[in-house]
């Protein structure tokens, strides 16, 4: 079986794969940064007491979490142009990943904030600190520690989800596997290579995650 595995073809197609890897990498980075911003905004709206911004935020988060990412991608890619809004496929893909992950990130941040003990907030209130000061000095530093690991988990999910963009013909990593398969009919080699590169990205994020858990979480005890 292994004798049938053609390593040479992998090297022949390496430029295509590296190109795909580069796209996946860039798309993921941009999407993660945008999703983080979206998540922070959505979470701030979600936990605010102002109804006009709270309820739209809840609606956004719930819609994103209750529909498949593929449906969201198809809606943006096929649906928006029929409504008169035409966006290139890469931007469409980034938009979909940003909106989808943004909703999950909003909930991750909210969980981190609500994990901080009520008494901490009371202590801040009692000493006269205002809302922004309590957030900045008391709540967020403590929430950060519990938020970073699931955030990096979400980043890993986003990288893997970006494979779905191949379905709207974005030339990313999975798409390069599809291209090679259709040209040479060698799906084993193609998707073995694709998987290998995803593992590489995963390991990079994982290393960063482990490092950050050591560095960023304040020490409960010594």
């Amino acid at each position: 079986m292994l004798a049938d595995f053609n390593f040479r073809i992998i090297f022949e197609y390496m430029p295509l794969f590296l190109n795909g890897l580069k796209s996946t990498f860039l798309i993921s980075i941009i999407s993660i940064i945008l999703a983080l911003m979206t998540g922070i905004v959505a979470c701030s709206c979600r936990i605010s007491g102002i109804k006009i911004i709270k309820y739209p935020a809840i609606a956004y988060i719930e819609i994103m979490r209750s529909t498949p990412l593929l449906v969201q991608i198809y809606f943006l890619y096929f649906g928006l142009p029929t409504l008169g809004l035409r966006i290139p496929e890469i931007q469409t893909g980034i938009l979909a990943l940003m909106l989808n992950s943004g909703a999950y990130i909003a909930e991750i941040i909210r969980a981190g904030i609500s994990s901080v003990d009520e008494g901490q907030i009371e202590a801040g209130v009692a000493s006269g600190l205002n809302y922004v000061q309590r957030m900045r000095f008391i709540i967020l530093p403590q929430a950060l520690g519990v938020t970073v690991p699931p955030l990096l988990g979400q980043a890993i999910v986003l990288v893997k989800d970006s494979a779905l963009l191949s379905l709207i013909s974005v030339a990313e990593l999975t798409r390069s596997g599809q291209t090679m398969t259709s040209e040479r009919l060698m799906p084993a080699e193609a998707f073995f290579t694709v998987a290998f590169f995803y593992i590489c990205i995963y390991l990079c994020l994982k290393t960063f995650s482990d490092w950050s858990q050591k560095k960023l979480i304040y020490r409960e005890a010594y």
Partner: protein, 242 residues
């Protein structure tokens, strides 16, 4: 200095504060006791509006606390609050815990705030623990840092909500000592506690609550030795038997 006028408060259907009338004078040390659920914690939490009241008036230093328009930040800056569970910020050292409010609420420059913080740590006998994190301190030490944190705002009133109830017996003394010193310096204090020794030593007045009402007030010796009401006598006999 603190005035309650016909104060009523409900948690849902539960009438936690039932027509409270009370005046606490400058420099007075008031001990509040009573069975659990009697509203004693709620009573002192209303003074800096950690709890809102539904009826009546609370006036602290001529500040109407019950009104929406009252300047809460300014009010709270004058009132130190010590919690049963300390609530120190776990990601900050003792010194940082104490400096946070003076620097950010009173806009005191950092170097001055640090001086004040060191001074207050000395006052509670913990000058060697300035760089320790709460998790490195014992319960008694944490509570003393929490008291120093309250004092750093140079408050006119200190409120204590069962400050020794979460402590091991051997650590209660060190916290009470700090509070006794504070009382002898003339601080206006309102303390929810069952520590009779403390009450007898420093309290000007003991207030006994049950089911949201003030049942009895009196001098500590009179109250503990000769309670006027049966409910108070019953309560005292229960905390004394063991």
């Amino acid at each position: 200095m603190i005035q309650f006028k016909n104060v009523n408060k409900w948690f849902g259907k539960l009438h936690v504060l039932n027509d409270i009338n009370l005046e606490i004078k400058k420099g007075e040390v008031l001990v509040v006791c009573g069975p659990s659920g009697s509203g004693k914690s709620t009573l002192i939490r209303c003074i800096n509006r950690l709890e809102k009241i539904q009826e009546g008036e609370i006036i602290v230093n001529k500040n109407p606390v019950h009104k929406r328009s009252s300047n809460l930040t300014k009010l709270r800056a004058q009132i130190g609050f010590v919690f049963q569970q300390f609530h120190l910020y776990p990601h900050m050292t003792s010194l940082q815990n104490i400096m946070l409010a003076p620097v950010n609420v009173k806009n005191i420059p950092k170097s001055n705030a640090e001086k004040i913080a060191i001074e207050k740590l000395e006052q509670v006998g913990l000058s060697d623990k300035s760089d320790s994190y709460p998790a490195q301190l014992s319960g008694g030490q944490q509570q003393r840092v929490a008291i120093a944190r309250g004092l750093a705002m140079s408050p006119e009133i200190m409120l204590f909500d069962e400050p020794t109830s979460a402590l091991d017996p051997e650590m209660i003394g060190e916290v009470l000592d700090v509070m006794v010193n504070l009382a002898s310096e003339g601080m206006t204090m309102c303390v929810v506690t069952h520590e009779m020794g403390f009450a007898k030593k420093v309290a000007d007045r003991v207030l006994f609550m049950d089911e949201g009402k003030i049942i009895e007030t009196g001098k500590p010796d009179e109250f503990f030795d000769n309670p006027k009401t049966e409910r108070a006598a019953d309560f005292i006999s229960k905390i004394l038997t063991h």
